[in-house]
């Protein structure tokens, strides 16, 4: 018995000694690991590559947790509200910028943060007017067309032009469809919303306003039953059912389906994130590679100048992460933000416009594609692609249901559906 006790003592002493020696010797200490949680988009992977480059220099190991896009917001929201430290760095987006503002650390002190575009940050200020994100790339809705079918002179400037050129190409048998673009929830931007904004319209009054105080002062009144919005729904109803420039099933398409049709060469025009430029021009994936053009949006009768959205995807650091990890994460994010070569590489690999505006000038001087993107998107008027308040997910879903109901019903029912819909959108905005 005494022998056994001695053995236990010996083993305990040995374990303690090894532990103390390991702590005292930095070389023996395990390297720090930061866990990055994101949705697996190529841009996120490319941005992580930049972070990884700097992490290696700092002796930090980066781990990745992929979370499916469909469950990303609920999963990470639950993680943040329960104080879990599972993720040291999380993918952040303007759509849910306000949902998480109280759970993520401020980022005003991250190196290079002064060199990012200011307007896309609007979604990410907390109640103390401190920033809560570090941009990784810009996300820009872009009007793409087939250069081999549509000459420079024919590039549509108005919605009516778009219908005309679409029908012409369909009649000539060059394409099955003039236009294809995702429309189902939550792809509303790529058909309904770009036309809404380019017809001088919006979801709430006043148009293009994103200040919650102003919107609240207007009682979150939805204007989707107003003529500017009714025109949009009627335009799309005609496009689907009368002019038939887009497939009737367009209301059900997500990005994959719309991209499949465009990349198969069956449609002349589409709207998608600029980041699909790479896919559209990939000969292994796309029959239209090398024939893709970009142009400013056509406008409706309610507007004379194109307007687009330029928002960001970013990284954020949960407050629940230990302070040492927060500091390390900020350091790496600062290094990513100031790594101009890394951002150029990210642009080349993915088509993700760099977060650092200094890199824009460099790319505009050397890269004709970026120059064109800058011309058609960055240099235009801008609107935010979402509203930045907690009930935005409810509003988006309510809007999508109303619009799809109107588009799949009878044309003469559109005013009534929109009138009823304006109420449901307002109710979603003020729901407690």
């Amino acid at each position: 018995m005494a022998r056994r006790r001695d053995g236990v003592r010996l083993l305990t002493s040995l374990a303690l000694a090894i532990g103390v020696l390991s702590w005292a010797n930095p070389a023996a200490r395990a390297e720090e690991t930061l866990n990055i949680c994101h949705g697996g988009h190529p841009i996120m992977v490319a941005s992580q590559k930049i972070l990884d480059k700097w992490a290696k220099m700092e002796g930090v190991k980066l781990a990745t947790t992929l979370i499916a896009y469909d469950v990303y917001v609920p999963k990470v929201t639950q993680m943040l509200t329960t104080g879990s430290a599972q993720c040291d760095i999380i993918w952040h987006n303007d759509d849910w910028g306000q949902l998480w503002q109280q759970y993520v650390v401020t980022t005003d002190d991250v190196a290079g943060i002064d060199n990012v575009a200011k307007q896309p940050l609007d979604a990410f200020w907390n109640d103390q007017h401190k920033l809560t994100v570090v941009p990784m790339a810009h996300t820009i809705g872009t009007f793409f067309y087939r250069k081999d079918l549509i000459s420079d002179a024919e590039v549509p400037k108005t919605f009516a032009d778009m219908v005309k050129i679409g029908q012409k190409l369909q009649k000539e048998g060059k394409v099955k469809w003039g236009y294809v673009g995702a429309m189902s929830f939550n792809n509303t931007w790529f058909s309904l919303w770009w036309t809404m904004w380019n017809n001088g319209c919006d979801i709430f009054k006043p148009i293009y306003e994103r200040d919650n105080k102003v919107l609240a002062a207007n009682d979150w009144t939805s204007i989707i039953d107003q003529p500017c919005h009714q025109q949009i729904i009627e335009f799309w109803w005609d496009a689907l059912h009368k002019d038939k420039i887009a497939p009737e099933a367009n209301t059900t398409y997500g990005r994959n389906e719309a991209n499949a049709i465009f990349m198969a060469g069956d449609a002349a025009i589409t709207v998608a994130d600029s980041t699909f430029w790479g896919d559209y021009n990939d000969k292994n994936k796309s029959r239209v590679a090398g024939n893709i053009g970009m142009a400013p949006y056509p406008v409706g009768p309610g507007r004379s100048k194109p307007i687009t959205w330029v928002d960001i995807w970013g990284w954020a650091i949960p407050k629940s992460v230990p302070p040492a990890h927060q500091a390390l994460a900020k350091k790496l994010l600062g290094e990513m933000l100031t790594d101009e070569d890394g951002q150029v590489q990210m642009w080349n690999e993915t088509g993700g416009p760099p977060p650092n505006v200094k890199v824009w000038d460099r790319l505009a001087a050397s890269d004709p594609v970026f120059r064109k993107l800058k011309e058609v998107d960055f240099d235009q008027d801008h609107v935010h692609s979402a509203y930045y308040f907690a009930n935005w997910p409810k509003v988006h879903k309510a809007y999508s249901d109303v619009a799809i109901k109107a588009l799949t019903g009878k044309r003469e029912d559109i005013p009534a559906v929109l009138k009823e819909g304006a109420k449901s959108v307002h109710d979603a905005a003020v729901a407690q």
């Binding site: 917001v73 949902l99 189902s184 059900t252 499949a260 049709i261 069956d266 879903k397």
Partner: protein, 316 residues
Amino acid sequence: MVKAHPPVSDGLSPKMAPGQNAEPWLGEKERFMLLLIVPAGIVLVLFQIVPIIFGANASFRDWQLFDPVRTWVGLKHYIYILNDPTFLTVVLPNTFLLMFLSVTLSLIGGLALAHYLHRNLAGQWPMQTIILLPQMIAPVIAAMMMRWVFNDQFGVVAAFLDWIGFGPIAWLAQRWPSFFIVVFTDVWIWTPWFALILLAGLRSLPREPFEAAQIDAAGPWRTFTHLTLPMLRSVIAVCVLIRSIDAFRSFDVIWILTGGGPARSTEVFSIYTYIETFVNLDFGRGSAAAMIGALIILVVAGVMYKAASRVMDVSR
């Protein structure tokens, strides 16, 4: 009601000490039985009972996923849902219609397949494997596959319709075609399950009544309606009961195929709950929807269970 067994006197139970008049509450056999069910019990409590209690608690609170203040709001969420026209006029009818159509059609298809497989024809084994394939595919994958099969541009169905001179049909853009595809997919997945169980039932039936029917020159249809069906009644009842409960909570197939659309027209109870919880991020209201659904299925399952018991009693 499970009656407590008296301490066993088989020599396994501990011997009483002299003067000790109280018998042990549980014998060794009972303790062993309890030990065996403890792991399952712990899993049940942790992953079923506790979440249900949490959910029930959340359903009475203002519990936004992004701002869980958890203020007690009583029956507010329940009142909202029970007054929500979408829940009453779309969600509930869709749920029961899907349940009825899916179970009925799968049962009919399953019976037909079971009969076919029961005939011991040549090449039956490969055919049996092929027939069972839909059951082996995860419902999410089956639903994605169906979404592309019915895609109006690239789908097999679209190509066939095009070949016979029809234009593409926007199946998922209208309520009833979408609903048809949901039912079709569900039936496609679940028919093999019915077939498998009914085949086992068919193979266990005694041969004598069928031989007697043959001697009496009963035709195949008469034999089926007067012998096979009555004798399979108890198997059918159990299948229908289990599958109905499962169909009531169907989620994956509908979510992938239609997402409840177009414009919420194919929403069923589970999609309604998911949207409230994970799209609108309203955990309180989503939990209330789940509780209402649970109560409904409890009542429905209770009624069906009684009916199934009666059917089985008659069959005995």
